[in-house]
Symmetry: C2
Subunit: 411 residues, 2 copies
């Protein structure tokens, strides 16, 4: 389809924007063209949409079920017992709820790691967002987390892949996946041209466990077994020593940062933003955040760096914005993150009437420091309108299904 957006603010100027198919085709004042869909509101600014590079989407079904607990108590007493009861129906309901929340707060891509990848793919396709869906390897999860299941799922689900949906091989972490399976994952991903998605150095306990098990710190260990490469996206990266950061950079590993989750779980160290280029941003699952709002994530990322370094110039607004948008797009090979002719039409129209966007002296500053996800009026992904005037199709049905599934799960 084609979309014509009239009289929208772009870098302080009023322009018209035309999309055709998946891409932005023309940007200029007062375009004399026709389009299948026209948006003309005069109080909107256009910005690139958000790319959330580490999620467990279905976990929004467990939002608020347990907070303010030590990690292992939280996992063992609350999260894991509920997850053990979750069916594909629950994961579908939770994924739909998360994607609804993402669209309503301007996110058009998520990089997910969970179970029943087929239903999260179904949810993403129905709602029109981009997603990289992990095929999860986890030794303790029996058949579900085995390489045989990953292999079988890959061969079934590769048919589902297209310009919006891709698969990743997702060995959960060093402490949950055997060396044999890590190496298998790497080889399988390389052979099939897939990315690898792994949790890395989130907690000190994890580092200590890795040293005990392998004799090496996490990055040294992954380097030793030949796991690292530019098709790896590593989530968290909190407990790293200087030479480990050097190795990740040398191997061009994609770096994901989850400031809210790290702070809420009290991981006890701060991600070293200055050590990496092209850092991407994620919310992690809603159980440790407890939302999927990338606006909030940008702000807290910037605040955390300034606080820990006692330097208010660190991680300025523009860089935080790029982390949440362009960097994530580039990490996953999408030609998006800027509003320019030829780029993919992944973009947001922001309501400048929201009081926190007033007086509007600096749109990027306002977006990072003042706005929240509710400032998004319209969400466009891959040249399709997923939300306009804050209305998403089937919102009530998605909400009711999630509430019903959560109630059944908890009781």
């Amino acid at each position: 389809m084609s979309i014509l957006i009239k009289n929208v603010e772009l870098k302080g100027k009023s322009v018209d924007i035309l999309t055709d198919g998946e891409r932005i085709t023309e940007i200029a004042p007062d375009l004399k063209v026709e389009a299948e869909h026209v948006i003309d509101k005069r109080h909107l600014a256009v910005i690139p949409s958000f790319y959330n590079t580490h999620t467990h989407a279905a976990m929004s079904l467990l939002r608020g079920v347990a907070d303010d607990l030590h990690l292992m108590e939280w996992l063992e007493k609350h999260i894991w017992p509920l997850e053990a009861k979750m069916t594909d129906k629950d994961i579908y309901a939770g994924s739909k709820l998360s994607i609804l929340e993402m669209i309503k707060s301007g996110t058009t891509f998520f990089n997910d790691m969970y179970w029943h990848p087929e239903v999260t793919i179904k949810a993403a396709k129905e709602m029109g967002v981009r997603a990289s869906i992990g095929l999860t390897l986890l030794d303790g999860a029996g058949e579900n987390g085995s390489k045989e299941t990953v292999d079988r799922n890959f061969h079934i689900l590769k048919e589902e892949c297209n310009s919006t949906i891709s698969l990743t091989i997702a060995p959960h972490a060093i402490y949950t996946v055997s060396e044999e399976n890590l190496i298998w994952a790497k080889e399988f991903a390389d052979k099939n041209d897939l990315m690898l998605h792994i949790h890395l150095a989130e907690t000190e306990t994890e580092v200590e466990g890795c040293i005990e098990k392998t004799g090496h710190r996490p990055v040294h260990y992954l380097e030793k077994i030949g796991f690292l490469g530019k098709n790896v996206i590593a989530a968290h990266n909190v407990w790293l020593e200087a030479d480990e950061k050097d190795i990740l950079n040398k191997r061009e590993v994609k770096i994901n940062h989850n400031p809210v989750s790290n702070m809420k779980l009290g991981v006890g160290n701060t991600f070293d933003y200055s050590a990496f280029k092209g850092v991407t941003l994620g919310t992690d699952g809603a159980s440790s955040n407890n939302n999927l709002d990338m606006s909030e994530e940008m702000k807290i990322a910037a605040l955390l760096q300034k606080h820990v370094s006692a330097d208010p110039t660190r991680l300025p607004a523009r860089e935080a914005f790029d982390m949440a948008s362009m960097n994530g797009a580039h990490a996953f090979g999408y030609d998006a993150g800027r509003i320019k002719e030829g780029m993919l039409a992944d973009m947001l129209l922001i309501d400048l009437r929201n009081p926190c966007m007033v007086p509007g002296l600096n749109v990027i500053s306002d977006l990072v420091y003042a706005a929240n996800g509710n400032s998004v009026d319209t969400t466009i992904c891959n040249g399709k309108v997923l939300m306009e005037g804050r209305v998403v199709e089937n919102e009530e049905k998605i909400r009711e299904a999630a509430i019903a599934a959560a109630r059944e799960l908890i009781n």
Copy 2:
């Protein structure tokens, strides 16, 4: 007036709530009463409203004008030159914008320190929120910041005080107010039964300056000159040693915490939440935040404590919520912060259909960790409806006036 709220969720149960005049008069299922105004929507939860205990409301006019700078560069090159140009008309426009943002995010009280107190009082009265308005003492500001002006303003403005508006004497800080004037402020406040509002121990530079100037750390100095007492509200309290915290507690000083502002300005230390009881929460001015959203402030307060202590159990959701609501109310002598018969009718109706409030397993957790200010559907202050269905009177006019004032100021 009287308000009847039908079928609203309170602590997991559906009830009706009746207010009469300033107070909540009845809470029970299925009340058979009449009221002048009835709200009956069936997708709302009721909670106490927020009390923001440290603001410079008019500074929302400067939102986004300069960020990511060192404190003195930010103040000297950007904020102070613009503030020097601000007229009472600008301060009125900025105050209205801030109060609009507060009402839309559920705040019904703010404790303010700025200039031209008469116009901020006018703005607060027109919009129906509670406010404590500082009469600011600041030696470098000439006549504007002199004790003669404070004295004169007090005698004019005390006529404006009522159950929603009060005055404070607001010596800006130790580094900007002479000992003579600090002592005068204390005596004036005590004599006239007023609170004192002061910035305290925000930066290390401030502490070093105090030691150089007086030979004492800030709290020791204020104790020595007899300034401290239970009518003092101290903002920030970041750079304090153990015995200073003991003195503040012994003197029953009211404690305000501004996590976002402290982090954004990189003050280099963390407020010690565990040292105090009844801590209250503030956003500080929009220039160093850059919004007035107490939902976000609660979340970041909790995240900051967990992060710095590496303990996810610190500052749990319920305590963060009380900091933002009840503790602020009590610090300023308001009988609010709980939804109970007899309490002041300062309350919010939260839209449970917002995806981040779904599936709704724990409303307090959802409010602190998942929601933002836009989840507020209805804001009630002192038994009056200030917003219903997210509509505030004159919103467009307030926005346009702020934009016009800011443009004129910047150019």
